[in-house]
Amino acid sequence: MQSTMRPNAEASGRLSRWLDWCDARTGVRGLLKHALEEPIPGGARWAYVFGSGLLYLFLSQVITGVFLALYYVPSADHAHRTVSYISKVVSSGLFLRSIHAYGATAIVIVLFLHITQTLLYGSYKGRRELIWLTGCFLFALMLGMAFTGYLLPWDKKAYFATAVGTSILSEVPLVGAPLQQILRGGSQMGTLTLSRFFVLHVFVLPGTLVAFIAMHVGLFRKAGAAGTFREDPVEPRRAPQPFYPRQLIMDMAASLLIIVVLALAAHFYPIRLGPEANPSDTTYIPRPEWYYLPIFEWLKKLSGDWSFAGGIVLPSILALLFAAIPFFDRGRERRPWRRPVVVAGFTIFVASYAGLGVLSAHEDSHDAIIASQLARQKQAEIDTMREPFQPESSAADLPAATAPAVPKDPLAARGAAIFAAGPCQDCHGDHGQGSDVAPRLIGVGNKFSTDGLAYLLHHRTAKMIDGGMPRIDLDDADTKALVAYLRSLK
C-alpha cells in the first residue's frame, strides 16, 4: 500500500521511513490493511459490536487476572488470606478484583447478546457452520472459566457452589464419577481441588480460548462478514464498507461503555469476600451465580427418576441441537420472521430460562427460613469485609501447635527446656536443626555416647570455640538432662 497518509510533511517523512523499514521486514502494512479493511456488506452497524466486545472483555480479564496472581496463592490454607490481602490491603486491590469478578458477569451478558444477534441474523449460513461450532465451544470454555474462577477465593460461597457443581458432574453415566474425582483431585474437595481449578483457570482454559478465538476470527475473515439479514449469505449484493473506520469506532465505543460500566460497578459496589470455607457448616445455603440460577431451579423441580433425564439428558440434547442449528437451518433465507422454527425455538428457550431464574429468586424471597438464612449469609460477607486484615501467624508464634512433641522422657524434657532457655537454641536452631553459624544436632546421639557428649559439652574443641560456642555452665544433673535431650533428637 502506498503511503498516502501524510498529514505533516517532516515528521511523517521520518515516520514513513521507519514504517517502511518495519514493513519490509514484517509486512505489517499488509497485515494492518487486511485487518482494517475487512469488508462488511451493507456497512457498519451497532448490532455487530458484541463480538469485539467479548474480545475486549477477555483481554481485560487476562490483564486483571495476571495482576491478581501477583498476590494470590492457590492453596487451601492461603487462598482466602491472600484474597483478603488483595481486597483489604493492596492499593486498588478491591477495585481490580471487582473488575475481574464483574467482568465475568459482563462476559456472560455480552455472550448472550452476541449469540442472540448472530442467531437472529442467521449469520451461521453460507459456509459459516465452523464459525458457529467454534463459537459454541468458546461458549462452553467461557462457562468453564466462570466455574473454575469461582472457587479460587475459597470462601463458603465458592466452596459449596463448587461442591454442588462437581456433584452434578458425577451423575453423567460411565465417566461421571471418575471425572468428578479427577476434577476434585480426590473424592473430597480440598487443596488439590484448588490447585487443579487454578491450573485450569490460568493455563489450560485460557490457552484453549486463545486458540479457538484465533480459529473463530480466522474462519470469520475467510467467509467474510455476513452483513444484515437482508443480505444473501453466499453472495451479498450490497456494496461492502471497510471495517475501518466506522465499525472500529462503534466497537471501541462499545468497549469504552463496557469499561465505564465495569469501573463504576467496581467502584460503587465492590465485590465482597465471605468468611473462609468451612465444610462443617451445616447451616449454609449455597446459591450459584445469577446466570446459573435457572439451572439450579430446574434441578430443584426434578425429583428421583427424572433427575437424570432432566438434569443430564435434556441439557445435553438442547446443547447438541443448538450446536447443530447451521445444519438444520440451511437455506439462504436470513430474515428472522422467515425462520420461525429457529427463532421461536430460541425465544422459547430464552424465555423459559429467564422465567426459571425469576421463579428461583421469587421462591427464595418468599420462603422465610431460606430468605433469613440468605440474609444472614449476606451480612456475614459484609462483616468479613469490615474486619481489618489479619496477617497469617508463622509457626514460631504457635509453638504448642506446631513444635514436635516434648520428649516423653522427663529427663530429656528437662534437657529440652535447658536447650531452649539457654544460648544453645540461638545458634543450633530450634530442636537442634542447625543454622549458618552452628551445626545440626539432630542425630548427634549416633555419633557420641552419653559420656562422650557430656565430656564434649564441658571440654569444647578448638573448632567449637572458634565457632563461638560458649562455655557450658551446668551442674551434673542438668548436663545429664541436656545430654538426654540431645540424644533424643532424631
Partner: protein, 199 residues
C-alpha cells in the same frame, strides 16, 4: 480476498472471491483520506488516554510493596549479657526477627556478630556484607572478617581493610535490657559508601 481498497491500486482479478465490488467504489477522494487519518489519530489518542487511566490502578497494585509503610523494626534478643562479659574477639550469634512478609507474619533468622569495642562497650554488627549482601565470616586465625563472595575484608572492629566493599560493616542499634543484649536488625543499601537503611 476482495478488499475495498482506499488506495490507487485496483482490485486484481484473483482478489475477486465471493464478494464483487462495483469498480466505481474502489477509489476515494483525497479529502476523505485525510479525514480518515485524522480520525485514526483521534482514535489512537482516545485509546491511549483510556489505557493510561486504566493502567494507573494496575501499576499501583503491582507496585504496592514498594510504597507500603514499613513496620518499625522489632528488637531481637542476642543473648544474656554475661555470655559476652569476657569477650575478646567477635562472636557469631543467630537472632530471630519478626517480620511482616506480605500477607503473613514470619520469623526470620539473621546472623549478627557481637564485637567487643573499646572501653568494654559491646557492639553488634550485621553479618550482611555491605558490598553485595553475602554473609561475612570471622576467621579467628587472621583476625579478620572475610566475605566469601568477592573477598571484602574487615578488621576485628568491622572497619574495612581490603576488597570491593565501600564502607565498614554495618553496626546495628543495640541495647541492654534486663541483662539481655538486644539488637534491632535492619538492612542497608548495598554498594554505597553511606549506611542507608532500606525500607
Amino acid at each position: 480476498m476482495a478488499t475495498h481498497s482506499q488506495t490507487a491500486t485496483a482490485a486484481s482479478p484473483e482478489e475477486h472471491r465471493i464478494v464483487s465490488l462495483p469498480s466505481a467504489l474502489s477509489e476515494h477522494p483525497a479529502a476523505c483520506q485525510q479525514r480518515r487519518t485524522l480520525l485514526g489519530i483521534l482514535l489512537a489518542g482516545a485509546s491511549g488516554m483510556v489505557g493510561a487511566a486504566l493502567s494507573a490502578p494496575l501499576v499501583r497494585f503491582a507496585a504496592y510493596p514498594l510504597h507500603e509503610s514499613a513496620e518499625e523494626a522489632a528488637w531481637s534478643d542476642v543473648g544474656k549479657l554475661e555470655e559476652f562479659e569476657s569477650l575478646s574477639a567477635p562472636v557469631a550469634r543467630t537472632i530471630h526477627v519478626d517480620r511482616l512478609d506480605g500477607w503473613q507474619r514470619s520469623q526470620v533468622e539473621n546472623g549478627v556478630y557481637v564485637v567487643p569495642g573499646e572501653t568494654g562497650r559491646l557492639r553488634v554488627l550485621s553479618s550482611v556484607c555491605p558490598h553485595l549482601g553475602c554473609s561475612l565470616r570471622w576467621t579467628a586465625g587472621a583476625k579478620h572478617f572475610v566475605c566469601p563472595c568477592h573477598g571484602g575484608t574487615f578488621n576485628d572492629e568491622g572497619v574495612h581493610i581490603a576488597g570491593p566493599p565501600r564502607r565498614a560493616m554495618d553496626e546495628l542499634e543495640s541495647k541492654i535490657e534486663n541483662d539481655v543484649l538486644k539488637v534491632r536488625f535492619q538492612r542497608f543499601r548495598q554498594m554505597i559508601a553511606e549506611k542507608e537503611p532500606i525500607g
